[in-house]
């Protein structure tokens, strides 16, 4: 297990390194920042001075090494939109809010998808199966921002049950978390359903029943424990979706998270902030995948004792 972890950790470092290359490369591909930032009538000498000042006259690999050096020291530069504010600091200030929202969304998705998936498999082709499929598909086919607006209209404006936007109480969390999580229910529930069907059809389930084990234990212990390994793989992808989902949803609900920050940064061409957000998001996703890999070992002894 320890060797497995060390191996995975090594791969994680490599992934993050690859992410910096992409972020750096994409940044350069959009054109040279000096042209974007300087007035059209700027003189050639001024342009050259700025290029020299920012190190843009150096060959690419030198620029990259300098960039990675800064990243390693946690220096992403100052925000252009809010002069004097460190880009990374701006991100780290809000990442907690985004993670909070993502975590609640994840819990909501799991809490809904697991029972629907399990019951759909146990009562295949029954009313439960069809209703579950309908609820799940609805969440996947409707765009986040639309559900968000409709939710605000119903639950905040008309029913006045929940606050329209912002962050503060637990009531503020409900709508955005449901909007983000609902999207994940469909995929997760279908994975659980098919994994459960396969598991329920297996010989070890037959043997468990032959032992006289209660049906409740057969389903929730023997079958689900095996079926859980399959959707676990999807968790890594799901985390990425949660992050992406947070961007539009945070805007709709004015949730003070990284999503809202990055939308503002993009419109303001605040490159240091955009780069910092990208790296931090990548870090979160890679970390989540590492956790998933560790969970694999927890769920599947065949991996643990490899």
């Amino acid at each position: 297990m320890l060797r497995y972890l060390i191996k995975r950790l090594g791969q994680t470092v490599f992934t993050l390194f690859a992410v910096t290359v992409i972020v750096f490369g994409l940044g350069r591909m959009t054109g040279d920042p000096a042209t974007v930032l300087m007035p059209v009538e700027a003189r050639q000498e001024d342009r050259a001075r700025i290029m020299e000042l920012w190190g843009l006259d150096q060959p690419l690999h030198v620029q990259y090494l300098r960039y990675i050096g800064n990243v390693l020291r946690g220096e992403f530069g100052d925000s252009l939109q809010w002069p004097g504010r460190d880009a990374l600091e701006l991100v780290l200030l809000r990442i907690g809010n985004t993670l909070e929202l993502g975590l609640v969304a994840l819990l909501f998705a799991v809490a809904l998808a697991v029972p629907i998936g399990v019951f759909s498999a146990v009562y295949k082709n029954s009313a439960i199966d069809h209703v579950g499929k309908f609820i799940a598909l609805l969440g996947q086919s409707l765009p986040h921002f639309w559900i968000g607006i409709v939710f605000i209209w119903i639950f905040a404006v008309n029913l006045r049950w929940l606050p329209t936007s912002g962050r503060g109480t637990w009531q503020h969390l409900i709508m955005p978390a449901v909007v983000i999580g609902w999207f994940q229910v469909a995929a997760l529930m279908r994975l659980i359903r098919s994994a459960m069907l396969e598991s329920l059809d297996s010989e070890y389930i037959k043997l468990a029943r032959l032992k006289g084990v209660r049906e409740r234990i057969v389903i929730w212990k023997h079958a689900l424990r095996n079926a859980a390994i399959v959707p676990l793989t999807y968790f890594g992808i799901m985390i990425a979706y949660l992050v992406v989902g947070s961007i539009t949803t945070e805007v709709v609900f004015s949730w003070p998270g990284v999503g809202l920050l990055v939308v503002n940064a993009v419109t303001a061409r605040d490159f240091p902030v955009v780069q910092a957000v990208t790296i931090v998001f990548a870090f979160v996703i890679v970390l989540a995948n590492l956790v998933v890999d560790v969970l694999y070992g927890v769920f599947d002894p065949r991996i643990r004792f490899e």
Partner: protein
């Protein structure tokens, strides 16, 4: 009589056809006795065995008739809740493939614990652990104290099947149904396993229903044998009587297809033709299309059961040919 099955019928209802997987099967089992059920794959042996525990493959499978009297009590009339207290406790089963019949994510100890806990609520925590170790020792697993923490993938195939055997005998059942328990084991392990079952039976007096397609194993293990073909028992009797005087052409063909060590043959015998396709509407004798003796009547009408063959009251067979007394084997 420990178990008496009368006219058991389990059909599989699919969209295309109704498959009469078990089509009126009757047999009995006495205490401490081993009954062999022999037949090709697809003859309905496994579905028959699962039906006794109301575990026929759902949703397609349904028991449509018959009774299975276990100590005089009809198993087929019991609720699923009542059956749960019989499964594992009174009647247990060993499945064919040890590689897949143990749950890969739980330890051996956990899976055995469950058998004990569901079986005997009275055992204390420490008692269960001791019982688990004891039963593993009974099935010849070396170092059982250490093995309880092992996962299935850490054991060999033969060892896994012994664990499945341990689960089967954990609650000292009255009947163990062994469904081709050695088919997926290699030959030396197979012999070991068969000896183990035999020994356990001698010490506990459990009744065993041994399902196999191998007449060689029947000869070694069983007191009586029932030959199944396309959902019906076509011949039944004491092993010796069946071996010496097989009366149904299918039984004869099966016995002929067991390779003999003392004979040198160029070509192994095989029964011509194929068993009937599932769902095919069957009139007359199921074996008629493959039978060298079949005539028009065989194809039209199912033969009655002839009893007392080879002067043995328990030896029966379903074949029109036995109408003619000269065809009936007699004891020499």
């Amino acid at each position: 009589m420990l178990l008496e099955v009368k006219d058991l019928r389990t059909y599989l209802f699919t969209k295309r056809a109704t498959v009469k997987a078990v089509d009126g099967v009757s047999f009995y089992l006495r205490r401490g006795e081993t009954l062999g059920i022999v037949g090709e794959s697809g003859s309905g042996k496994s579905i028959m065995a699962l039906s006794l525990l109301q575990m026929e493959p759902k949703p397609a499978g349904r028991i449509v008739g018959g009774e299975a009297l276990f100590r005089g009590d009809d198993l087929l009339r019991k609720s699923q809740g009542e059956m749960r207290t019989i499964r594992g406790r009174r009647i247990s089963m060993i499945l064919q493939d040890p590689q897949t019949s143990l749950n890969p994510v739980f330890t051996i100890g956990n899976q055995l614990n469950e058998a004990f806990v569901t079986g005997k609520q009275g055992l204390a925590r420490g008692g269960v652990r001791k019982a688990v170790v004891d039963v593993l020792r009974k099935v010849n697993i070396a170092d059982p104290e250490r093995r309880v923490t092992a996962f299935p993938h850490q054991l060999s195939g033969g060892m896994k099947q012994r664990v499945v055997g341990a689960i089967a005998i954990s609650c000292s059942p009255d009947i163990v149904i062994a469904d081709e328990p050695t088919t997926s084991l290699d030959l030396t392990i197979q012999a070991q396993y068969l000896r183990l079952i035999k020994r356990l039976q001698d010490t506990t007096g459990v009744g065993v229903i041994f399902i196999t397609h191998d007449f060689g194993i029947v000869a070694k293990m069983c007191d009586r044998v029932a030959v199944m073909y396309a959902g019906k028992i076509v011949e039944h009797g004491p092993v010796r009587s069946i071996f010496n005087h097989p009366s149904h052409p299918y039984t004869q063909a099966l016995i002929n297809s067991v390779p003999k060590l003392e004979e040198r043959t160029e070509r192994l015998y095989s029964i011509p033709g194929q068993p009937p396709a599932p769902g095919q509407e069957l009139v007359g004798c199921r074996f008629a299309p493959r039978c060298e003796f079949a005539d028009e009547r065989c194809r039209q009408e199912y033969p009655p059961q002839f009893e007392g063959l080879s002067r043995h009251s328990e030896h029966t067979a379903d074949c029109w040919r036995l109408e003619d007394p000269t065809w009936r084997p007699s004891r020499h």
